[in-house]
Amino acid sequence: MTELALLFVASVLVNNFVLSRFLGICPFLGVSKKTETALGMGFAVVFVMCVASIVTWFIQRYLLYPLGLGYLQTIAFILVIASLVQLVEMVVQKVSPALYQALGIFLPLITTNCAVLGVAVLNIQKDYGFVETVVFSVGAALGFTLAIVLFAGLRERLDLSDVPKAFEGTAIALVTAGLLSLAFMGFAGLAK
């Protein structure tokens, strides 16, 4: 139990996917202009990540390993993730057109969100069992959501700031992301 809790905390804070593994930077920078949108993106990623991890775990464990097709891992995983994203896109478009609008191009881009593939692959690499896989991917996804929401808050504030011309836009966003990542390094050593 403690193990799982530690795994969870570690995946949310210590090894935060965005801020210390630097995965999933694309939507992190792309969809963090408004807090609401960031939150929507976060939840879309949570869903895709969890379901993708579970499905890929089963595929790897019961299909690829037994058949000795480990080399198909990447392509099979991407196939699964892509289909899931397509599904999410359809659902979001139907359920919340506003969110669909706001997420725009970044919704289909979850497909290529390396964080999603990263989690799926890490689960296999670290040889996690099913429960661990679920905990790890939920943690990673929440970590992603936490990072993107915090970052969106900061960027909304930056929007109102008198940033020097040379730093406007992405430049200052990257500086801020760097400092945020710096702050998260404080958690280093916590729950390895």
């Binding site: 058949l67 099979a76 196939l79 289909s83 359809m90 659902v91 609008q101 706001a102 997420l103 725009g104």
Partner: protein, 341 residues
Amino acid sequence: MIEAALVLGGIGFLAALGLGAASIKFHVETDPRVEEVAEALPGVNCGACGLTGCNALAEAIVAGGALPNACIPGGEDVSKNIATIMGLDAEKAEKFIAVLHCKGVHGKAIDKGQYLGIPDCRAAALVLSSPKGCNYGCMGLGTCERSCPFDAIHMGDKGIAVVDAEACTGCGSCVRACPKSILDLRPLSMNVHIRCNSPLSGKQIKALCSVGCIGCGRCEKICPVEAISMSRGLAIIDAEKCVDCGMCAQVCPTSNIDDALAPRRDLLIEEEKCIGCTKCAKVCPVDAIEGEKKEVHKIHQEKCIGCQRCVQVCPVDAVMLGAERPKPGAKKKTSEAATDG
């Protein structure tokens, strides 16, 4: 090998089934034009339009939330294509530009006092209506400058806005931003403008600004086409009626009316060059040009107002600028100028 193909094919097949079902269940009606417009856009998702991507812009255009020319990188071609899809008239209308109806530069118009506060016209208008003595004039705090998306209006150092006619696209952003409605859109071809916005009486204006419209009505009287009307103490030119003759500018006692063509000159047609295309005769607002097709045309000097439209349309540069024309009411003008001086 076969296994690999089967496994991938199987996963793919299952996913396809699921997605197919989902696409039926979660089907959303979309306007077919959205796809067409999206097709017409460059598709680089650069975000220059301010939206998240080309699809978002396509939807905005179809929904009416964005103009067909919202895609800046796409340029004119893209906007034309989109306009066609949207069934809009892509034909170019006459170009308009923003015109400032105030001439109250530092030294000519007095200030109420030393204004301290937000350097924005709309905010400054809340403090005693305007930092300038004249409550109708340009405050010079640059709200229009900041509102201009094309960097076509600048404050300069004289305390009033200056429109860059080249850069101005006539989008009207500044007109909407100006709290005093000093700016409006006028045809680019117009050369004569009244540079005052104050309805105050002559006596009141003179105390506040030496170049304001005092409402004397001389321009109204001299206007050959009744394009000028007096509204309280302010002369207003009707752009539809104005023939750009510039006579009003010549009689204005406070030199408020600007004429970009001043001093006006006689116009003459070079007989050797004229090919008798009749273009000049058609464009002349006062029918001062006479001539049959394929014959040399002639300008009647007593009718000509020197607006130079014939100069612009002549395909063979046959219309020449002649001597400076005498001012109508020149005598009055000099005496006024002396007292004003």
